[in-house]
Structure formats: C-alpha cells, structure tokens
C-alpha cells in the first residue's frame, strides 16, 4: 500500500517535460515534490499565477502571494500573474496540459464527485468544476476505500457530481487505473508494490478490468 507521498510520487511520473500543470489541494500538492530533475514544468494556481515556486523561507511570507489552497508561496523566475477570468480562461481553453485533483468518488465512466456531501459538508466546488469540465488530461489522486472499508471506485457516483465522463486516470494507494469512459470500467494498469490483483479487485466496486500480467509500479 502506498502512503500519500507514494501516490504523489507515482502521479509525478505522469508529468512530461514542458507541461503546464494544475495541482489541486491535498495529495496533488505533494506531487510537486517528486517532479523528476531535468523536467521543466510550470505550475498553475487558479487564483491567478503561472510559475508557482516553493514555500517561502520563514520570515519571507507575503500575504499577497498565495496559491489556490491559500498557502503562502513564492514565484519561480518567469512567473506571470493574472486575474481570475484569465486564469479560468486558460483552463477552459485547455492550455493546461495536466490537472491533478482529489476525489471522494469516481465512477467507472469517469464521473467524479468531490465537492459536497448533502447535509454534512458543503464547502463548495471552488475551481474543481471548471477544471474537470475543461481539462483534457486529468489524473485523480484518491484513497481506494473509505474508512469503513468501502470502495470509492463505483459503478455510479452516489454523491453530487463535480463532472461527467472527465476522469482518465486514477491513482490510489493500491493501483493505477485507466478509466474506460466509453464502455465503463476501471482498467488496472499497475499495482502498488506487494498488492495483488485480487486485493485490488475486491476494493473496486465498479467494473474491474484486468488482463494479462499487471506490472508493479516503479517508484
């Protein structure tokens, strides 16, 4: 089983040289730490920044410089600031190459739910609905099962949707899946080290597809 950093590390392999990447809050934020050396990426923060850098050194925090998670950050050389309309303009126009975000549920058709639990949690969707509706390349970072041991990879989402048929890839503590949004199904691509196909199958409530030898992740 992978921990959060393990999931982030695996997702970092999806990043190619020259990509503009939008990282959501939570595990996706950790992905930045595992971007391979020599690969040039630009991180987009949807509050209005291209070229997010590391956290500031202590004492150098600037209240006017935060990311979409409201964390204090710095700017990388070559950064550009813009307003919220342009920020989502470039997202809608599919200029961002890769979007990584968390999810509460994903369906076998690539639907995603991550913004609301009726009567319980209503924090809002923030930029997630814009991102999932627009991005051509979305990877979801999530736990495969909830605390009660129930799978979050479902035939249909039970929670209010964030987006429909938009998720292409899911990385969990157990596996990497490709979502077959045409026919419906989670196609197993890789297993976490030491996790068997059978274990993954049991933790997948939606249609499970595994053919041939499924390799272990290389981390």
């Amino acid at each position: 089983m992978l921990d959060k950093n393990g999931i982030a590390k695996r997702i970092a392999q999806e990043i190619k040289d020259g990509y503009y990447v939008n990282l959501g809050i939570g595990i996706p934020t950790l992905v930045a730490n595992f971007i391979p050396d020599g690969i040039q990426v630009v991180l987009q923060s949807e509050n209005g920044l291209l070229g997010m850098g590391p956290f500031p050194y202590e004492g150098e925090e600037d209240a006017d410089l935060i990311n979409a998670g409201k964390q204090t950050i710095t700017m990388a050389p070559g950064a550009a600031v813009f307003d919220s309309a342009m920020s989502f303009g470039m997202i809608r126009a599919q200029k961002v190459d890769l979007t990584i975000l968390g999810a509460m549920e994903v369906s076998e058709y690539g639907d995603i739910a991550n913004w609301k639990i009726p009567g319980k949690l209503v924090k809002g969707m923030g930029g997630a609905m814009d991102l999932v509706a627009s991005a051509k390349n979305i990877v979801v970072a999530m736990q495969q099962v909830n605390k009660a041991g129930e799978s979050k990879l479902l035939p249909r989402c039970t929670l209010p949707l964030t987006g429909v048929r938009c998720i292409r890839k899911v990385v969990t503590e157990m596996a990497v899946f490709e979502v077959d949004s045409e026919n419906g199904g989670f196609r197993l691509l890789e297993r976490a080290p030491g996790v068997s196909v059978e274990e993954i199958r049991k933790a997948t409530a939606g249609r499970f597809i595994a053919s041939g030898d499924i390799p272990e992740m290389r981390l």
């Binding site: 730490n33 590391p54 050194y57 209240a63 204090t72 919220s84 923030g126 509706a133």
Partner: protein, 245 residues
C-alpha cells in the same frame, strides 16, 4: 483627468443600503477590501447579497459581516474555513448559492464587458446546470450563465491614482479586476493613492473608467490564512515540505 477621490471610507460606501447586492474582491483573505468591510460592519447594513469567491474566516473579511447577520445571501465558489457560516447555512438563516469559480469570474467579466451571458462547460451534467440552458457547440455541451448585476463592487488594489486607475500586487489581483468592471458603482480602496501621471499607463490593470470612488485605506492587516514555509539551509527536511505544489 476626472477625479474619483473620496475623503474616507464613510464617503466611499455612501449609498450602500439594506438589501443591496455587493461584489467583494479577494481570494480567501488575500486582496480583500478590509476598510470597506469594516465600515459596512460598523454601520450594520443588512439583508445584503454578497458575491465573493469566499466568505472570509470567522473573525475576518466577510466573516465579520456574517457574525453580525448582515448577509442574507452568499454567492461564492468555496465557503470552507468558516464555522459561523456553516452554522447559519445549516440552520437556514443564510441562503447560499455555490457556483464554479471560473463561472463566478466570467460572469463578472461578462458584466464588465457588456455581454449578457456566457457559455461554459463547467457544471454540465451536475446540479449546477439544473434549470439552465445547456447548448451544444462543436460536439461539446455548455451551460449558459448570465452576467452578474451588482449595485456596488468593492475592490482592493495596491496602488491607485486620483483618476481611479488601479494596479494590483501579486496574487492579491485575483477577482478584483473583474469585479471592478462589473459594479454599477465601483469603490476601490488602495494601499497607496498617487496623483495622475505617477502610474505607467502600460502597467494599469483596471482603467479608471470602471472606478467611481477611490480612497487610501488604513491599517491593513493582510492576514495570512495558511502560513506555509520552508526551513532555511542547514535543516535538511524532506523535499516534501519544501514545495507548495
């Protein structure tokens, strides 16, 4: 050049009355019009509909207005980090309309650019699209969303001049430029007010034509919501805490 300067925050918010619709710039606590919010709280103007990306925190920003029950309806994209907000929402005291962040920004842009409606893919197939027109262009579905109408837009800029031209600083820009364009009446509070001619015309983010009143605010707290830092060299932490992502 037309002079837009008002003497103080009282004069700036004159005309804002109970039941109006206000737009408030800022993202989280970054770039929020602190002075105007405090004065609205002080005057106890109520029954307000507030359009803002967030609702502040319990004791700052729009959170201050919520504490005093001045907000009837909140239109926002993300409202976490605010216990009083959640309480009012769940008890039914507060009406809330949650909309995607990009839709929020673009409905402001539409108002500022005189466009009655825009099309966005955000929310297609979700409850956000319920009751709205969905239209297919080139094989993709888009929701039609309407331009906002706001009685007042209240924004915060870094520098401004007497003609109302505004320059924002770093990510404190966020929603401020699009909201500045969208108000029937736009109030700008700035950290530094200068005379015309001091700002480079090429650097201006909001041209003064969109701004009706401007004043230099005082005592900015500029609170930080999530203070994240990395340690200086010598303490070799895992790279994991070094990156904001």
């Amino acid at each position: 050049m037309i002079n837009k300067v008002v003497n103080d925050v009282q004069e700036a918010i004159a005309g804002i009355t109970d039941g109006m619709t206000l737009m408030l710039g800022g993202f989280g606590l970054c770039g929020i019009p602190e002075n105007c919010i405090k004065e609205i709280v002080r005057q106890g103007i109520s029954g307000l509909t507030c359009i803002s990306n967030n609702a502040g925190v319990d004791d700052f920003g729009i959170g201050l207005m919520l504490q005093k029950h001045q907000v009837k309806k909140m239109i926002a994209s993300y409202v976490g980090e605010n216990a009083e907000f959640e309480r009012q929402l769940l008890s039914g005291e507060l009406e809330v309309e949650l909309i995607p962040q990009g839709t929020l920004a673009t409905r402001c842009l539409a108002a500022g650019y005189g466009m009655p409606a825009i099309f966005t893919p955000a929310g297609v197939g979700t409850e956000v699209a319920d009751g709205k027109e969905v239209r297919n262009f080139g094989g993709r579905d888009y929701v039609m969303e309407m331009a906002f109408e706001a009685d007042f837009a209240i924004v915060k800029a870094w520098k401004g001049d007497t003609a109302g031209n505004l320059i924002y600083r770093k990510t404190a820009r966020n929603f401020n430029p699009v909201m500045a364009m969208a108000g029937k009446m736009t109030i700008a509070e700035v950290e530094e007010l200068v005379v015309v001619g001091e700002l480079d015309p090429d650097h201006i983010h909001t041209p003064g034509i969109y701004v009706h009143r401007i004043f230099q605010g005082q005592g900015y707290e500029k609170r930080i919501e999530q203070r994240t830092i990395r340690k200086r060299e010598g303490i070799n932490l895992a790279k994991a805490v070094d990156y904001a992502g």
